[in-house]
Symmetry: C2
Subunit: 161 residues, 2 copies
């Protein structure tokens, strides 16, 4: 039980993004260098330096100038939480709503910082619910996709006719 009773200071969306990027780089077995983070988030290297200073202040990263960055335990917890929210969202958007993967990735990035804990919990539960239904032989995602196609066809008729 590592992530419990954490004060878990509120982080800005932007700092959460930096944290997540470092987390992902490390998960890929790569060193998180300033340059990589910059490329990952499409920001300047200078912006990364600024963010690392803030994250160090908050004791979420181990950062010495000109040295490789690693996450502290608190940083790992915070980053894992962001990544978890990201994945919950992305799964829901792609697998249930049928949003295109690229669009879903972007939407998840932007939204992972804003939805509350309750909503994430419900979203997660809903995907489990759909999976459960699947096991029971009802393919809700598939039915929804068909429903969308029908609607689309209807619209085309409307516009043409």
């Amino acid at each position: 039980m590592t992530a419990k009773n954490k004060p878990t200071q509120k982080l800005s969306a932007s700092l959460e993004d930096y944290l997540e990027a470092i987390y992902n780089l490390q998960a890929d077995g790569e060193q998180a260098r300033s340059k990589d983070i910059a490329e990952n988030l499409d920001v300047s290297r200078a912006s990364v330096t600024g963010a690392l200073r803030l994250l160090k202040q908050k004791q979420l990263v181990n950062y010495q100038p000109y040295d490789a960055v690693t996450l502290t335990n608190a940083g790992k917890d915070a980053a894992a939480e962001v990544a978890r929210r990201h994945n919950v969202l992305k799964y829901f958007l792609i697998k249930i709503l049928g949003v295109q993967p690229e669009a879903a990735q972007i939407a998840a990035c932007k939204t992972e910082h804003t939805l509350g804990a309750e909503t994430f919990a419900k979203l997660l539960a809903f995907t489990e619910f759909v999976r459960e239904k699947q096991k029971q032989g009802q393919d809700l995602a598939g039915q929804f996709e068909k429903f969308c196609q029908k609607e689309k066809a209807k619209k085309n008729v409307d516009t043409k006719g």
Copy 2:
């Protein structure tokens, strides 16, 4: 057909909020005074003045200092679109996911600016899909609620046992 072929300049989340607040005040039959907008959004009156100047620049509001504010046609369209997104989200969160209304209101406010058009369309379609299922005799929202309760009960056992 008023909202078609609009350049519909990209607005910041914050300006969209101002626009929506004015829209809602007017919809309630009230005059949108600076003070009301400030109270509505919980910001200072000075911030409202700043926002109104920007919105005027973009020709979305009719604004003269010391005078009541109204929306231009373009402003109405933009505000209606924001309100529509807000409602789509809120409906989905409350009626399908079963999120508490207050939490849903907050989540919708924060998220209405970030999700893309495709995602909103899918979300809307999904609520229609659920309604369709309802007509056909399958109450998905109700089934999901039961599912959540079962999960909750399970967790309680886990924690206690």
